[in-house]
Each structure stands twice: as C-alpha cells, then as structure tokens.
C-alpha cells in the first residue's frame, strides 16, 4: 500500500473549507491588484512627488545687488554676505554661562538678549542682524540649541560720509532708500532665483532638473563722480563750514564738456555705514533737494540776455547814482554808491541798481524765457529722488519791482545743482547740456540758449569779477585764468528776510580760455563774522578748482606766478 493511499490521510474535512480558503486568497489577491491599480493609476502624482523629494531639492539662488563705482572704477558701494542670528525662543534652553557668552559674542547687553529669548509666544526672533561671518562662526561654535543663522547681504560704503548724499543707502533688506541707491533701484536690485536639482547620497548635485526661476544679479552702476575730486571738495567744504561756523553748505563740480557731475557734497553729512545715523535733516542732499535765493550769482544771466538781445554792449554806461533805485514802495540799494558803471563793471562790482536797471529794459517774457532756458523752475532730471524745482513765477504775474529784484537773484529760488548747470552756459559757448550722475561716454548735443559771442563776453566780465577791483579776488588760482561770480543773500525766514542770516555762494569756471569745470559753492549761514560770498565761498572754490584741475591734468593757461594777496581795500563788497 502506498503512503498516499493510507486511510489515515483520507480527507475528513468538508469540501467547502478548501473552497473557502481559495476564495479568501482570491479576495486578498483582488485587493492587492486593486490597490496596485489605485496607486499606479489614480494616485500616482502624490507618490511620484514623494519619491522625487528623496533625491531632488529646490535651491535658492541669491541675486546680488549691483555695485556702484566711481568714474575710475573705484568701488563706492559693495554688498557682501553677512549672517543674521535668529532663534526659536521656545527651543532655547540657556544656562546663564551660555547667555553670558552669547551676549559677549554678539555684543548685546545681557538683559536685552534675555528679554528677546524670553518671548516664548513668538516662533521667530532676530538676535542680531548682519553680523560679520567671523562672529557668526563664533556663535555657531557655542552650539546652542534653537539658535540659527541665515545668510544676508550687507552694503558697505568705503567712502563713508564723503559721498553719503550722492550714494544714499539701503535698508536692512537691501532695498534702496536714498540717493543713487534709490534712483537706480530697478537696475541695481538683483532678483533671487531658484532651481531644482538631483542630489546624490553625498549631497553633491548631479543633475539639473529644471530652472524654476532664473536668478539675476543687479547691474553695476558707474557714476560720473571722481572720488579724488569728491574727497577734495568734501574736505574743503567741511573746512570752510567749520571755519565760518556755518550751519551747512554744498558744493557741485561739473564737467562742462559732458555735463557730468564730478563731485557733489553737502554738509552736514552722516556715515551711511551706521544705520542709526541715517535719520533727520543730515540725510537730505541739499544741493539737489533745497532751493534758495541765489543772490548776485544770477546777475550774469540778466546781463547775458541784455547783450544777446542787443540792448546793451559791455561798454554801455548805466547810471547808478545815487546808489539806490526806488520802484513803487521798494528801494534797491548798492553797498558802494557809484555814479555810473559800464555793463562790465556792473558784474565786476556786483551792482544791484545796475542789474535792476538793465533788467527793467527787458521784456518780462524774454527774461522768463532765459530763466526757463537755463533750467530754473524745472527739475534738473538727474534721476535723484526729491529734486528741487525751485521757484520762478510765471512772467504774467511779475511786477516791475519783482523783475528788477530777480535780476540780482531775489524773489527767485534755485538749487545749487541748477545754478551750477546754468553756469555751464558761459563755459560752453552759450549752450547747455543735461547734467548726469552716471558716466557719459559720448558728450550729448547742447541746447543753444544765447549766442557764442554773448557767452564769451559774459565770461570776460566774470573774469574781471575775480581780479583785484572785483568782488572775489580770493577765487583766483595760480596758473589758471578763472571766471566767476559771488552771491550773498539774506536767508528767508518766516516769510521775510532774516537780517543777520545769509547764504554765501560762489559759482565759477576755469580755465577761462577754454573752460573745463564749473564749480558752485554755497555756505549756509556763516556766523564767524564774514558773510560775503567773496570771503566765505570763493576760497573754497579756489582750493577745489586748483586741486581738480591738477587731478585732471588740465594745462594751465596763465603764467605760473604766485597770486598776490589783494589788499582788503581793493576787494569790492557786493550789495546784499
């Protein structure tokens, strides 16, 4: 008998039991098939994403902010990576020794740190932003749980207060707030991007999957500024403001050929690297944003118009006796009454009566046309935030006395930048180019305002003004012929003129034979005794002009003879 036939093994169970097991297995199998179909067919996206997340990662790519350079490629503003230290207060368990050490490394008061970490209601708290990478490494070395760091960028300005007003600054998140940083925000700002990559077991990137968003670095900006001239201008302006105990001051240096602003400085200034100092009035770029009554620096424009329209010649005599002129209820006075002056002498000696008489012979409309033509009453369009438009009232509302006072710069307000630009008229044979803060590679075409002859004649008159017998002999520099005009004006206060507060200014150009630079200087409220533009502002002009001409390597056009100090008796005080 075979083993299999043994009756002991004969089935004793009812046949449904085996069928039941088969059925169960079939159901189990069916379930598996169904589940597989579900996972592969309907629910595949979710699983695919889960799978991908094991090896693919999304990387953030920072977009760097563009750098700012001066015209010679010197870096003026650079962003560099720094770390920010932050914490999740709930996760931080600090021993008092750790707290002490952390406070020491971060240079924060212990109480302040304890207060920030004590706020457990918050999930995220910055301990300190923008610390140098070395400090961040020392924080990491403390190995405190719950304290993290993230990468940020910080903007540094190596030139500090010298260029603060031109460059402006950025906020802590890197967005421009003032100056060039704000004006060129669109170009300078970088755009952060991201991309998806496959990483291997060791964390190396082995494949690019897709660029989600391209990162873009901000474009660099090359300014027209020359940092050597800028530094010189700032130092000299500061010296003059301190020596005259003035409230402030401004200086603008313009290249007459291209309209580039080679230097632009203001006082009071601030250090843009220190965010605590970046508040208040000192942040304002006064040379651009503030308009003031310029005073006598406007006389050459009236004279230029009179010459251009053929009403006068440089030798036409103007009767100025008895040194005052009454129009209606107002009286215009000269500091030094003379009998008669030629038009040339009106500029040289800065006679208010002379300028007023010349102005009264002109039609208001043409005078307004000239002011408009040289850019007064219109923003200079440097691209700077908050550029002052100035104040030039429409000619239809002019009364004769106003027309007369405007000829010597009262009842009209301009910014220092507008004034500097307007003077390029005399430096450039009667035409004007727009000013530019960025480097200009090909000179723009000029817009003619007055004739070439007129510009040359006025330039000659301006040369007389800085010679002995003029108002600004202190503006002379050795080796170069200089031309320029002083201005001294009472400051406006509470709707009237302050008796003892002045704006002292000087605008000039050199070398007079072939002008290359225009420099405008304004000192606000000099209060150390001197207040005439020829005594306060002209020396700043001379120092900066001499240095700038040397820096730019411009050939002298006068003999290299030391300048004799003009005896004060020969220095003409202008009328205020």
């Amino acid at each position: 008998m075979r083993f299999a036939d043994s009756p002991v093994l004969a089935p004793t169970f009812p046949p449904w039991r085996s069928r039941f097991v088969v059925g169960l297995l079939a159901i189990a199998f069916g379930t598996l098939v169904g589940r597989a179909l579900y996972l592969q067919g309907w629910n595949s996206d979710f699983l695919q994403a889960k799978g991908e997340s094991r090896y693919s990662h999304t990387l953030e790519i920072p977009g760097n902010r563009g750098r700012i350079f001066d015209r010679n490629g010197e870096a003026l503003a650079v962003s560099t990576p720094v770390k920010s230290i932050w914490a999740i207060p709930e996760d931080v368990a600090l021993s008092s020794r750790d707290l002490e050490r952390l406070a020491q490394v971060l240079e924060l008061p212990r109480e302040e740190l304890r207060r920030r970490l004590g706020d457990t209601a918050r999930d995220f708290v910055y301990l300190k932003r923008q610390v140098p990478p070395e400090t961040a490494d020392r924080v990491a070395a403390l190995r405190i749980a719950g304290v993290y760091q993230s990468k940020e960028y910080r903007r540094y300005y190596p030139a500090g207060e010298t260029m603060a007003h031109v460059l402006g600054f950025t906020d802590v998140d890197g967005a421009g707030q003032e100056g060039i940083e704000l004006a060129f925000e669109a170009g300078l700002a970088g755009r952060a991007g991201s991309r998806r990559v496959i990483k291997d077991r060791l964390g190396r990137i082995v494949e690019d999957m897709e660029g989600v968003r391209e990162a873009r670095d901000g474009a660099d900006v090359t300014l027209a500024l020359d940092s050597r001239i800028q530094n010189l201008a700032y130092v000299e302006l500061k010296r003059a403001v301190e020596a005259n105990r003035a409230k402030g001051g401004g200086i603008v240096v313009v290249d007459t050929a291209t309209g580039e602003v080679l230097a632009l400085a203001n006082l009071p200034s601030y250090n843009p690297n220190n965010s605590a100092r970046r508040v208040g009035g000192q942040v304002r770029n006064r040379a651009v944003t503030d308009a003031f009554e310029p005073g006598s620096t406007l006389k050459p424009f009236t004279v230029a118009l009179a010459l251009d329209t053929g009403r006068v010649s440089p030798y036409t005599t103007i009767q100025v006796s008895p040194g005052s002129l009454t129009i209606g209820s107002a009286t215009i006075r000269d500091a030094h009454p003379e009998k008669a002056l030629t038009v040339e002498q009106v500029i040289q000696k800065s006679s208010n009566v002379g300028a007023a008489k010349i102005a009264l012979g002109l039609a208001p409309e043409t005078m307004w046309g000239l002011f408009d033509g040289v850019g007064f009453g219109a923003a200079p369009r440097l691209g700077f935030p908050g550029e002052a438009v100035g104040k030039v009232r429409p000619y239809k509302t002019w009364r004769p006395v106003e027309q007369a006072t405007m000829s010597y710069g009262h009842g009209i307000a301009v910014s220092l930048v507008q004034l500097a630009r307007a003077y390029t008229l005399f430096a450039r044979d009667g035409d004007l180019v727009p000013l530019s803060l960025v480097r200009v590679d090909s000179p723009p075409p000029g817009k003619p305002v007055v004739s070439k002859q007129t510009a040359a004649l006025v330039r000659h008159m301006l040369e007389l003004a800085v010679l002995p017998g003029g108002t600004a002999p202190r503006a002379r520099i050795m080796g170069y012929r200089v031309a320029g005009k002083t201005g001294t004006a009472h400051k406006q206060e509470h709707g009237g003129y302050a008796a003892d507060k002045y704006h002292s200014s000087f605008v000039g150009l050199a070398p007079a034979s072939r002008p290359r630079l225009v420099i405008a200087v304004m000192i606000d409220e000099p209060s150390a005794g001197q207040y005439y533009g020829g005594a306060v502002a002209a020396p700043v002009f001379a120092q900066v002009m001499a240095g700038a001409l040397r820096i730019l390597g411009i050939a002298p056009d006068a003999p290299m003879k030391p300048i004799e100090i003009t005896p004060p008796a020969l220095e003409v005080r202008e009328s205020v």
């Binding site: 760097n64 750098r67 015209r71 010679n72 010197e74 870096a75 003026l76 650079v78 962003s79 560099t80 990576p81 540094y156 190596p158 030139a159 010298t162 291997d200 190396r204 990137i205 082995v206 494949e207 690019d208 020359d226 940092s227 050597r228 530094n231 010189l232 130092v235 290249d255 080679l262 050795m478 080796g479 730019l552 390597g553 411009i554 050939a555 002298p556 290299m560 003879k561 030391p562």
Partner: protein, 95 residues
C-alpha cells in the same frame, strides 16, 4: 533566427551598459561643474570684499594723511613747478 536574437540581446546589453556609464560620467562632470561654479561664486564674493578693502585702504583722505604725516610730503611750491607744453599730444582727458 536564434543567433540574430542572441546578437541583438548582446547589443542591447552593451547599449544599456553604455547608457549607464555615460550617465554616470555626465553626473560626475556635472558635479564638477557645480563645484567650480560654487567656487566662482565664492571668488566673486571675495573679489567684492577685496574691492571694498582696497577702497578703504586707498581712501584719498587716508593716503593724503599718510603722505603728509609719515612720508612728510607736501605739494610742490609754485616757483619750483614747470609746465611742459606738448602741443602735438591730444588733451589729457579724465578717464
């Protein structure tokens, strides 16, 4: 028929191995590229920092101070200056 199939199978295997090798190679090269790009980025950052440092050291105020104080330099006296005329040369323009 069988021989052709075997041949094709061998070819397929070779192709598959080739694909794997080239993929591996590509990934290795890509990793290298990534590394170099990261290096370029750090160098760019370093360049920025060096520019910053150079600007700081070369501040005109500082150079002038050092020239005056440490090197005892001063601008030449006008009497000792001589201007050389070079009519043929084009005018020196600021860069």
């Amino acid at each position: 028929m069988t021989r052709l199939a075997l041949c094709l199978l061998g070819l397929l295997a070779a192709c598959a191995l080739g694909l794997v090798t080239s993929q591996h190679h590509a990934r290795k090269l890509f990793a290298e590229l990534e590394r170099e790009q990261a290096r370029a980025k750090t160098l760019e950052v370093e360049y920025g920092q060096l520019q910053l440092e150079q600007s700081t050291w070369a501040m005109h105020a500082r150079v002038e101070r050092l020239a005056r104080e440490r090197l005892r330099m001063r601008p030449p006296e006008p009497q000792r200056m001589q201007v050389i005329e070079t009519p043929a040369r084009p005018e020196v323009a600021s860069r």
